[in-house]
């Protein structure tokens, strides 16, 4: 026997990344723009999706993929009740969605009838950051009661974001949240990151997010 060193240099998630690329191509072929929505549990992901659907007021046709670790359809049911197609993906306890689960979700949506697919990832600030789903952009919702130190504690998730939403700004008078300290941490990880402070409860700040989202979808569709 002889020992031989074989060079590999392959990304550990290369299989996932290949599947993600297929998902992206599939959505491009249907002229669909898609977002991967990440946040910790309780940051307001589902409320944010519902409020986005309501304020878009049928100006875009939206499909939603809901990722959950448990076999419950609470979130998908809410989206369907709001009049949009939704599928629930149960990760079977896994802490994140991956490109293969995303592919499953896409296969259950009427793609030819959609402009926008919103993916609600599993509530978690660590794992989802590592897995490309094939969406066009990553969006993170941070919420005021979680505290202003999250960029410092969970740096990875702030990398690779296209947009940051800071939800529950209506709670600012009641909790300690130093927006300058928070933003300094974000700036270090993702300089110039587009940020929308808003409140799902009061609707403050939503107009800017909706206009931005519409313009992104329009630009994507006109380039396809």
């Amino acid at each position: 026997m002889s020992a031989i060193r074989v060079p590999v240099v392959e990304k550990i998630f290369s299989a996932n990344d290949r599947m993600a690329e297929l998902n992206r191509n599939l959505m491009n072929s249907h002229n669909i723009f898609s977002i991967n929505l990440m946040a910790s549990p309780g940051a307001g992901k589902t409320s944010f999706i519902l409020e986005t659907i309501k304020r878009l007021n049928h100006s875009l046709r939206i499909g939603v993929i809901e990722g959950d670790t448990a076999p419950v359809t609470i979130d998908a049911d809410k989206v369907i009740a709001a009049g949009m197609p939704a599928v629930q993906i149960n990760t079977g306890g896994d802490c994140h969605l991956d490109a293969s689960m995303m592919s499953d979700g896409l296969s259950q949506l009427p793609l030819s009838e959609l402009d926008l697919v919103i993916v609600e990832n599993v509530g978690n600030l660590i794992c989802p950051a590592a897995w490309d789903l094939g969406t066009h952009i990553n969006v993170l919702i941070a919420s005021v009661p979680e505290g202003d130190d999250k960029p410092y504690k969970y740096p990875n998730i702030y990398r690779g974001l296209k947009v940051l939403v800071v939800n529950k700004t209506d709670l600012t008078p009641y909790v300690k949240f130093d927006m300058d300290y928070f933003r300094r941490g974000v700036e270090m990880l993702n300089p110039g990151l587009v940020t929308f402070p808003l409140s799902c409860r009061t609707g403050d700040g939503f107009y800017e997010w909706i206009e931005w989202l519409k313009s992104q979808v329009r630009t994507h569709q006109s380039n396809s």
Binding site: I4, V8, I12, N156
Partner: protein
């Protein structure tokens, strides 16, 4: 993080390269992991021992080459290393930085054994 998925992916990559090289056995696997890729080495090794059983990778040793997170200050060009948490540039105090290393996450190489070619 999700060490089981990480370990499964490492095994798959190692097996495919080992098979392509007609290996009889894989003895060592060299991983390059940046400090910002938060995985726990011990957990990967723990899963590895289970999932590599009955493959030509069984018993292979995992080597983790940890790459420190390094930043370059946009304001003054100073380069500095992250210790436990994010800090401002120690030279000028700016928090506008670019990351120059620490996000690596790949299988660099494997060491294999193969039957010596007896020649013709």
């Amino acid at each position: 993080m999700h060490e089981l998925s990480v370990t499964e992916n490492v095994l798959e990559i190692a097996l495919s390269h080992a098979n392509a090289s007609l290996a009889k056995k894989v003895t060592d696997i060299y991983l390059v992991i940046g400090q910002l890729s938060s995985i726990v080495d011990d957990s990967v090794q723990f899963y590895w021992d289970y999932i590599s059983e009955n493959t030509i990778c069984a018993g292979a040793k995992l080597h983790f080459n940890r790459i420190p997170a390094k930043f370059r200050c946009i304001n003054c060009d100073h380069e500095f290393q992250m210790k436990d948490e994010l800090t401002a540039c120690p030279n000028c105090g700016s928090m506008q930085t670019t990351i120059i290393s620490g996000e690596e996450f790949y299988v660099d190489s494997i060491e294999i054994e193969k039957e010596v070619d007896k020649g013709i």
